[in-house]
Symmetry: C2
Subunit: 197 residues, 2 copies
DNA sequence: CCTACCGATCGGTAGG
DNA sequence: CCTACCGATCGGTAGG
């Protein structure tokens, strides 16, 4: 019985989280009121607090859900026996797919995280920094192995790659529709051939 | 006398605009209160309204200032006798320089414009759309002339290029310092060699 | 899950 | 440029 109750609560919270991700993406975290969110879910604002503790909890769940997913995937790629350039390609393809399939959550994690507060803000920054550092190491290895242009600046390249991918956020909103797989192949073509020695 | 008064008012407004751009970048438009802004300028919140009409006016001035600059530069490049690939490179270098030299204003124009309201919101979107369309035409010409890979999807490529550049926003905030000219050359190396046939 | 409500803060105005 | 203040809205709570 307690089990069923828990399940019910969790699925209700998921509905709230999904609505929150869409609202935060469309209007931004600060401009989304709990009354807006409640209306979207179909209940009164006060009723939201039976499922969550605070507005900030929603942002925390969204941001950490995405970064955890990204870091876990990074680990699986590091442990694979691909070449460095293949690793970069695999990571970029995963990020692009995530951006297309889970647009709202990724947008919020990329653009609204600055509204987190400590200690979560610090933890989030550390997670993202660790992620970039690991991508940095893969690219550095690729240069040592003669796979990647030795003339590039590695930290600047990491930024370029990640933000080229984050750009799909805005792309997704536009009216010009492109098939996601075309989009993915196009990004890989340009970025990987740009990196290749 | 009227002249002097106007000049004084304008320079005071410039101080407010500069402070606003920094605050909107750091905390976001919605999270920045007029009391925060007033404190930064060194006056009371009510006194701000002797120089501006509303909070939204500040966002409008910042966003349209940047897009006007970008569109004017685009015009000068279109009228030049460079090859298409050279035009793309020139535009990217200008955008990168702008992002480094005028970081706060560019960040706000790229990330906080969604808090504009109609009619300015519609006008701003139209300006940005026109800019992308013109870049699209340059790249299309480059493919026709055999300078640029014919395998790329042009709209998706425009998004990739612009967002790779917008990424400098976040880069600028990071602790890893890289010389701006190294950053610029690095981005050009990867993106232009990725485009080249 | 709702009604009723709280204290805090918001953008902005009146009047000097 | 300031003091004093307004109505609206915010996130969140009490109590049922």
């Amino acid at each position: 019985m307690a089990r069923i109750k828990t399940t019910k609560d969790e699925s209700r919270k998921d509905v709230i989280l999904t609505a929150a991700a869409e609202s935060f993406r469309e209007r931004g975290y600060k401009a989304t009121s709990m009354r807006d969110l409640a209306e979207k879910v179909g209940i009164e604002a006060a009723s939201l607090y039976n499922h969550i503790d605070s507005k900030s909890e929603l942002l925390i769940d969204i941001c950490f859900g995405i970064t955890t997913l990204m870091n876990d995937f990074m680990t699986s790629v590091e442990e694979s026996d691909k070449t460095s350039l293949e690793k970069v390609e695999t990571i970029l393809r995963f990020q692009i797919k995530q951006m297309v399939d889970n647009f709202n959550n990724n947008f919020v994690a990329n653009r609204e995280w600055l509204h987190l507060e400590n200690p979560e803000l610090g933890e989030f920054r550390a997670l993202r920094h660790g992620y970039r550092k690991r991508l940095n190491q893969i690219i550095t290895k690729g240069i040592e192995d003669g796979e990647i242009k030795e003339s590039i600046n590695v930290p600047a390249t990491v930024w370029l790659l990640l933000h080229a991918v984050y750009g799909i956020e805005s792309w997704h909103r536009s009216k010009v529709q492109v098939d996601p797989s075309v989009l993915e192949d196009n990004m890989i073509t340009i970025l990987i051939s740009g990196l290749k020695k």
